[in-house]
Structures are given as structure tokens and as C-alpha cells.
Amino acid sequence: MKQRKNKHGFRKPFVMKKQKQPQEQPTVDPVTGKKIPKSFVFSRGKIPGSLKQLQMDLRKLMLPYTALSLREKKRNNLRDFLNVAGPLGVTHFFILSKTATSPYLRVATTPQGPTLTFKIHDYSLAADIARSQLHPRCPKDLFKNSALIVLSGFVSGELPLRLTTNMFQNIFPTIDVKTVKLSTCQRILLLNYNKETKLIDFRHYSIRLQPIGVSRRLRKLVQSHQVPDLRNLQDISDFVTKAGYGSESEADEEAATVTLSSDIGRVNRASTKSAVKLQEVGPRMTLQLVKIEKGLCSGEVLFSEYGKTGGKEESDDEMQGEEDAEGDKEEDSEDEDQDEELD
């Protein structure tokens, strides 16, 4: 551009393209009047490609109230994210990091904390799961609405479990039972706590409703507008009456049926019975709660898997990677900042 200016003595007029302003997301739920939680998913330190993919999957999971194409730079520290989080109304951070032993996921509420640190024992990406399925399902509007969350097994009244429950209950907008449209409930996040192993299974499913008592043929006919193959039939009534393949999953459907109060799509009409079917979309993780800190990645350690420490300093050796040492520095500076604000 500069060169051109020198050559011809004038600058080509630069027309600012008016970008279509995306509709601003509300910070407050219009129905319930509660604050909508928003999240950032990012990583600290250098992470391998598969973890980057996992980060992307997590962002998709957190849609629509998340920064899908959040760009982070090497020099960005936690405080940068925190500074942006305030004006944008971001309430939760998901921070992925990696040490020599294993990857870690930190879930924190901003700006005050607490921070839960999970060790990711194993994980599968959404792509892996789609590859493992015969017919992966991804409707267009799957990610248009936020997911529901189901927590199971978090019953005991211990502090770490209670905190975890609290944290995860608030990462998605609350739904109002009276006004919610069932068509917006498209996917569900399941966190299942296993008491024996102390591991949390993190699963992400898409919800599909199917009418019961309708033969598969008819259902397919209604769902897809294609003309059915009638060559082998004597009469048109055969198409309806002939049983077709018996669905082997019919037996256990009893428990998984709901009566709908309103129509969902063209197939599931109101006041008919529908079966709830879940299909995994991923990502899939097995988490272990390792540590809880009072502040945002800093502050008093409320709980530590590897030995109790009353003091501020953490004692678990596994978290003492280089990257974390750096993180600690940041955190210290953050602490100071917060102190100043308090003063």
C-alpha cells in the first residue's frame, strides 16, 4: 500500500466493508432474568495438536455462549483473559494445559475463583467418536442452543464434590421449566462421578426423539420426503401394515419415553409418546479432581488429591512442570493486582 502511494502519488480509496454485526448476545436471560454464563476455552503453555482439537471440541460444546474462535498468543497471560472477560461478561474459564505426565483441565469462575483442576486421564475427540459410529449424527442446529447438564453420583456432601456440582450446574444457562421449548434441548452433557475410582466421566450426547408405535417405514417416510420402494408390495395397505424389521431396542424403551407437551419437528407431535435416544457427539473425557483453589488459579488450596496442605503452596509434584512455574508467576502478579483493587 505504501509503495503504491509513492508511485502514483495517491492512495487507492479504501472502502471499509460494513461487516454484518452479529446479533449481540444477551447477558441476561429474557425469561428467567438470570445472568447467562459465558465461557472462554483456552490453553496455557504449548499443547499438542490433539489437545488443540480437544480445545476446539470443548468450545463447540460450550456454544453458543462462548468464544468459538478465540485466538490466544504465546505472550497472553491469564490476566489478559481476565481483563477481557469482565467487559464481555465471561463467567467461566476452561483452561487446558499439558505436563509431562498428563493433560489437565482447569475450570474456574471469574474473576474470583474458585478453580477446579482436573487431571484428564484419557480423552477422545469428537472426530474419533464420529469415526467410531456407523451413522454419526450432527443436525444443523445442534450447537445453536446450549446443552443441558446431568450430574449423577455427586451425592455425598463433601466439599470438593459440592463445589464441583456447584460449578458445573452454573456453566450453562438455567432453563425455566415452564417456558422452555423442548426443541431447543438438543444435547446433553453428562458428568458421572464414580465413587470407587473417584473419576468423573465426561460425556456429550445429542438428544433425538422418536415417536413410538410407528413403524420404521412410516417414520422414515415422514422424515425424508422420498418416495418409498413399493415394488414388492401387492397393495398400498401392505406398506402400512407390514411389520418390517422388529426393533430390538423396543423392549427397554419403556423407561425412556416421554409425553410431549408440544410438537418437536414434524415427526414428534404433541401428546404422543416419544422415545428419547441419545447418541454421543463427543468429546469424551475421564477426569479426576486433583485440586481446588480458592482464587482464580491461585489462592488458598481448599482441596488437593495428593496430600493435604494447609498452606498456600501446593505440594503435588505432578503439577510442578515448567509451564506451571510460569503460571505461578502470573498468578502472583494477579494476586497483587487484586489486592490493589481491594485497597
Binding site: G49, T101, S102, P103, S124, D128, V150, D201, A255, V276
Partner: protein, 334 residues
């Protein structure tokens, strides 16, 4: 052999000598020369060696290396032939001198022998030297030398290996180099593999079937979804038949939610509205004592937003106000 050849040649050489006898003194000096000449030769040789070494380093390809060595061989050959000639000349001179001065003969001869030995030692291929015909021009000699060298190279039987035709001197080097490369690659590969495994730690490719644990998780999630949907159903059937898209019914729904809201708060919803109306009624009564003209009243513009009716009768105005305020309050709470 060389000596004999020199003797044979001597006849012709003598003729030459007779013609050039005047230069005998200088040629005597030339006899002493061989050492500086040898030095010079050595110098060139070193230079060439350096050059060839450099070339060898530069060229990694086998062919080029071969070429370099061949040229080197031919070069040395040529040099050798030149020196040979010189020495022959010297021999002739010494022969003459021996003829002149017999006493000095044996010494000279021994000297010549020494130079011959020198000659042999300096040359790599003595046999070739012997075959060189006298009186052959330099160019052809070089040609022949090259031919010999080339034949020598070609004669060498090439052993089986995969390294290809490599001179034996270089073979070890090349093998070493290749071995090193191989080892390096191996180390690199291992490091890469290690890094890869480290990066992929925890990454699990799911099985294509649903194992019992996954089925259990799905059932748990399904239960949750069913519970929620049933709850939604229960809550929404109560207000069924009211379509929220229609404004009238939407209002009704809102009213219901409002009532629910107030009941949750523990405040009765209606009394508040009643209070506002009461206040309005109170003001209406006070109106009788206050100025009839609305703008003179204290609460002018506070209660009424309509200015076009400012000159109307006060009673009507008050009633109008009341209607509006009650409406406002109700719409506010909506």
C-alpha cells in the same frame, strides 16, 4: 632398465650435447637442481592434494569423487613423466661428464642410481615407467598414462556391495558415513516417536461398539433427559391451550407467571395495585381544595402525561388520571 635406456638414447643425445656444449656449466648447475625441482614438485603435489581433498569434501556423490581421483592420478602421472625426462637429461649429462672425467664416474653413477631410486620411489607405478617408450611426446605420454590409470581403475573388480563402485580408499569412509547416518536417523526417529507418544498421552480412540460402561452412562443420561422432559411436560400442560404467540393468551400466561412470582416472593400482588389506586383516589379528593386549573397543581405533569386536555374540567381530568395510572402500574408489573 632406465639406465640402459638412457645408454641407448645417449647417441642421439650426444649429438644434441655437442651442439649445446656451451651450456655445460649451466647444465651442471641443473644437475644440482633436482632437489629444488623435487621440492617444487612436492609443492605442487601438496597443492593438488589440498585441492583434491577439498573437492572430495565438496562432492558427496560417488561419481564425482571417482573423477577427482582419476584426474589426480593422471596429474601425478604427468608430473612423474616430466620429472623422468628431466632426470634422463641429467643422466645424459652425467654420462658425458663421466666420459670427460673418469674419476668422477662411479660417484656420478651412484648419484644417478640414487636419482633413479628417487624416481622410482616418487612414482607410484614403477612398471608403467618402464614401459614408457623413449622419445614419445608429452601429450601422448599423458594420454597413455591416463589410459593406464583408467584401465587400472576399470580392472578393479567391484565387490558385491550396495555401495556401488567406490575406490577402496573411500569405501571405509563411505561405510562409516552411511552407518553414522543410519544411526542418526534411528536416534531421530526414536526421539520423534517418544515425543509423539508423549503428545498423544491420554488420547484414546473409542471402540466401535458400546461397552457396558458406555451403555450405563447413556442410560443415566437418558434418565436425566426423561426426568427433565416430564417435568417440562407437567409444567407446560398446565398452561396448555394458551398459545404464547397470540398476544391475548401471552398476556394471560404472563399474568400467571407474575402471580407465581409474587407468591414466591411472599407478597400479595393485588394489594400493591390497590395501594396505588388508593393514592390516586386520595389525590382526587384533595383536588377540590387545590386550584382548578391543572398547571397550578403541585402534581401537574406528574400524574398526567396528556397535555392536550389541560383546560378540561378537573373532575374528568382526575378520573382520566386515575385510569391512566392504574393502567400504567399494571403494565409496569407486566
Amino acid at each position: 632398465m632406465a639406465e640402459e635406456m638412457a645408454m641407448v638414447e645417449s647417441g642421439r643425445a650426444r649429438r644434441k650435447f655437442v651442439k649445446t656444449q656451451g651450456r655445460k656449466k649451466s647444465s651442471k648447475k641443473a644437475k644440482v637442481r633436482p632437489s629444488p625441482h623435487e621440492q617444487k614438485k612436492v609443492k605442487i603435489d601438496q597443492k593438488m592434494k589440498k585441492l583434491f581433498r577439498k573437492r572430495a569434501r565438496e562432492y558427496n556423490s560417488d561419481d564425482e569423487e571417482d573423477e577427482a581421483t582419476v584426474t589426480a592420478a593422471s596429474e601425478t602421472r604427468r608430473l612423474a613423466s616430466v620429472t623422468n625426462k628431466r632426470i634422463e637429461e641429467d643422466d645424459i649429462e652425467s654420462e658425458d661428464q663421466s666420459g670427460d672425467e673418469g674419476a668422477a664416474g662411479p660417484l656420478k653413477k651412484s648419484n644417478k642410481n640414487a636419482t633413479d631410486v628417487n624416481n622410482h620411489s616418487s612414482d607410484d607405478e614403477g612398471e608403467d615407467e618402464n614401459e614408457i617408450q623413449p622419445g614419445i611426446t608429452k601429450f601422448t605420454e599423458g594420454c597413455r598414462a591416463f589410459k593406464m590409470a583408467f584401465r587400472n581403475v576399470m580392472k578393479k573388480s567391484i565387490p558385491d556391495d550396495m555401495l556401488g563402485p567406490i575406490l577402496s580408499a573411500h569405501k571405509k569412509l563411505v561405510i562409516e558415513k552411511l552407518g553414522e547416518e543410519e544411526a542418526e536417523r534411528k536416534i531421530k526417529g526414536e526421539a520423534k516417536k517418544e515425543k509423539q507418544t508423549l503428545a498423544e498421552k491420554g488420547h484414546v480412540k473409542p471402540a466401535t461398539y458400546l461397552d457396558s460402561h458406555e451403555k450405563f452412562l447413556i442410560s443415566v443420561a437418558t434418565k436425566g433427559v426423561v426426568k427433565l422432559f416430564n417435568a417440562v411436560n407437567k409444567a407446560q400442560t398446565a398452561q396448555k391451550g394458551l398459545n404464547p404467540s397470540r398476544t391475548k393468551e401471552a398476556k394471560e400466561i404472563r399474568k400467571r407467571t407474575k402471580q407465581a412470582f409474587f407468591s414466591e416472593l411472599g407478597k400479595p400482588s393485588l394489594p400493591s395495585i390497590g395501594a396505588t389506586t388508593k393514592v390516586n383516589e386520595g389525590t382526587g379528593k384533595v383536588d377540590d381544595q387545590q386550584p382548578a386549573w391543572a398547571p397550578l397543581r403541585d402534581n401537574y405533569m406528574l400524574t398526567s402525561s396528556k397535555l392536550k386536555d389541560w383546560d378540561k374540567m378537573p373532575d374528568k381530568n382526575v378520573s382520566d388520571d386515575m385510569g391512566r395510572t392504574s393502567e400504567d402500574s399494571s403494565s409496569d408489573e407486566d
